[in-house]
Amino acid sequence: MTPALPYYLTLSAILFAVGMMGVFTRRNVLIVFMSIELMLNSVNLAFVAISRHLNAVNGQAIVMFVMAVAAAEVAVGLAIIIAWFRNRESVDVDDLSLLKW
């Protein structure tokens, strides 16, 4: 027997909250970025579960789009982080201080 939709949605909400906590509390840019990816993937889980629950395939198609978009975002994000690191030699979000935060 497969678990009901509310369980999946709760798990996805918990993962989303964990990602959000990571964004707020971690100081390393890379870990902040990973936390954002966790948030996106928690939504993917919700989409797959809902899609299964509704017996419709479009939720699963959406996940493919989200993963492709997330990959593009990672590529650009890491590039910008490297450009910043070269000038600033830091990966600490507290050093994002040239412009008043």
Binding site: S12, V23, V43, G77, I80
Partner: protein, 492 residues
Amino acid sequence: MEAIERMINLPSSSFQAIAPEIILVLGALFILVLDLFLTRERHHYLQYFSLAFIALAGWYTAQLWGDTGFHFYDMIIVDNFRLSIAYTILIAAGMTILMSGPYIKREEVDLGEYYCLTLLATVGMLFMAAAADLIMIFVSLETMSIGVYILAAFQRYRVASNEAGLKYLLIGSFATSFLLYGIALVYAATGHTDLDGISRFLTNNPPAGDKILYAGIAMLVVGFGFKVAAFPFHLWTPDVYEGAPTSITAFMAAGVKVAAFAAFARVFMSALHPVHDQWAPALYWLAILTMSLGNLVAVTQTNIKRLLAYSSIAHAGYLLIGITAGTSEAASAMVFYLAAYTLMTMGVFAVVIYLGHKGEPNLTLYDFAGLGYRYPLLGFAMVVLMMSLAGLPPTAGFMAKFYLFRAAIREDLVWLVVIAVLNSVVSVYYYLGILVRMFMNPPEEEGRALPAYVPVGVTLAVSIAGIILLGIFPTPWIDAAQRSVMVALGMR
């Protein structure tokens, strides 16, 4: 082969529905290739080609005018609301490219990718206006945002620009995950991601306290709120606007905001219209807080780019009034407001490019001192721009506010309008403060000649002409805007 064709089954006429976007994608790729074959002295050809592609996209947009319908399995909508927003976006992109030429040469980032990315970000914006499905909105929002993240960090060797790009990226993708979560929850509650389907579902099954749906709507507000820079999701705006290259700041202030508001308006005014009474109070307060914070903080700013960032937050607050009202009249007033706002923003940032010098050390209000008499034309342009931003007649800014507030009053949002008018009064203080410095203070330093940037001057002239035209003869434009929304599907 035949089986595949039957499976995919794309009617060829559909491609007309996305012809402007196709043109711009091809244009962006063409520019990327052309860049390889051009010597440094001929780099400005890229700018001309970009403008030509934007003009061509505008022409294809004109061909679609008046059509209505859904295409590509209800992913793309053609209606005049989309097309009039598309014009505004194309004007914003065209003016950005026009004023970028001298600017990126001065800042020594004269690379072909700049134009390519601007065009691709524009494609994302156009698709946001054209999206008829939540997932299409998500994908096009990301197409736009990823391009703009790179553009914000485009001055690779300047820490401020890196920092602006990184902040925008982190906060932007954080916001996007909220938007996506909102989409998932709305999908869970209604079983649809297409706007028409959601609207039909909610009309047939009025939700009585469906917590998942309301949580989803709240998440959507957060996601869009970040993109349009509404309080309390505005924190990134001043930093990113200050650090990004000035031409890109203009592009973000106008293009990104127009596209985000178009999608915001379409989702809330058509798909979620059946539950208007539930979300309207939230947006009511969001509008009040956004415009009040934007205007009050703008008063204290001395850096011109930060001041304009807070001013753009304030304008987002005014525009939220339109979504709160939620009628077709409000939607057409928003179309008009966004067009006027684009012209004003582009003009002001053209002035900022004029005044800046390499590296843009401190572009403060003190740099404006005495400029009005030394450069009368620039002084006149600033008078028109500031009056329009403050909403004084006879400018486009005044007419835009007038139509927007009238639409809100018809929906009995009197107090909201009272607060908005009081806010406009506050904004007069800091906008006209710039003029006071220009005309009444003695110049700080002697004779730094302004550069003769012809394309920037053209941008400025176009924006001034547009502001005066829309301000004195608003009727044809507001009629077009009204007709544009009348045809829009799903709006009353």
